[in-house]
Amino acid sequence: MLALCVSACSSRQEQAAGGLMDRSQEDPALSGDGRLLAVISPQRGRPTVQLRSLLDGRLLPLPSLKRHQPHSSPSLSWNGRYLALVTQRGRRRLAVVADRLNNRLHPLPLPGGRDPVRVSLSPDARQLALQVADQGRWRVELLDLSDLLEPDRPAGAGLTTPPLEPQ
């Protein structure tokens, strides 16, 4: 089922992304470390986010994101702990951040009842950028998520204990 097709034409172009090749894939988002890829792909006719490990092509479960389609505009933090995207709640669009470590879903309703169109999560998950409509124009607004989420830093960049000295 999984098809990873290698493209050898250019030294730069490594491969076309895998997946069920008969299904369309849109809105790609790489994790900061480049190991995970999120795309929007139809499932039972509904645009749904899919998360794939690029190391082995395995699809990763997203139990907190099985509902509220159509999904759009996925965005991943550095190690892929967090996945931000736009979901549907009734007639409104709602930005959410899924924490894959504990399967929690953080809804981010916007003041003024505005609907988000696109979102982008900073690699460390401290900030979220949202595209919204405001008085007939597109705006980009930033939210500070540092009170809400633990940071997702590159490996080795966090606080670590020093290595043990050899005896």
Binding site: P28, G34, P123, V140, E141, L142, L143
Partner: protein, 162 residues
């Protein structure tokens, strides 16, 4: 003793309630004001660590704009925004050095890599050929995912960059 109990009752209860408050996201008001300035509209945001790339429209023309969020000011991108090009999607690496851009020019849609330190634009060919749409760089700027239309179907290509 009763005075201490009174103090706990008056000060302790609000503090307890404050401690139980659900953490909320906070709008970055100063930066949001900056993002409204100097453009009629702004869309397609993508965040690097301290960098925001987006498409800003001014005077009827859209450009790729990179903003240094720490210094709170736009960064020039010499050679990237051609007068005859219409940007569609942009993504920035975590260090702000590399930008991947999809743009329309001369009736065709092309995928570009821009390196800021050398102000160099490099066209990235797609194989097999297709029409690019939405692009995402990883943090290092060495790996790129791009949505491509081929034979009426959307696919995602991965490209490793030197």
């Amino acid at each position: 003793m009763s005075r201490w109990l009174g103090w706990i009752a008056t000060a302790g209860v609000p503090l307890l309630l404050l401690g139980c408050r659900t953490p909320q996201p906070r709008p970055l008001l100063e930066l949001n004001g900056l993002l409204r300035q100097s453009v009629n509209s702004r869309r397609a945001p993508d965040l690097g660590q301290r960098w925001l790339v987006s498409l800003g429209e001014r005077g009827g023309r859209e450009r790729v704009e990179l903003i240094d969020l720490t210094r709170r000011r736009p960064v020039t991108l010499p050679g990237l925004n051609r007068a005859d090009a219409q940007p569609i999607s942009a993504s920035v690496s975590a260090d702000g050095e590399r930008l991947a851009v999809v743009q329309q020019r001369d009736g065709r849609t092309e995928l570009l890599l821009y390196r800021r330190s050398v102000a160099a634009v490099q066209r990235l060919p797609l194989d097999p050929p297709g029409v690019p749409r939405s692009v995402s760089l990883d943090g290092s700027g060495r790996r790129l995912a791009v949505q491509v239309s081929r034979d009426g179907r959307w696919q995602v290509d991965l490209i490793r960059l030197p």
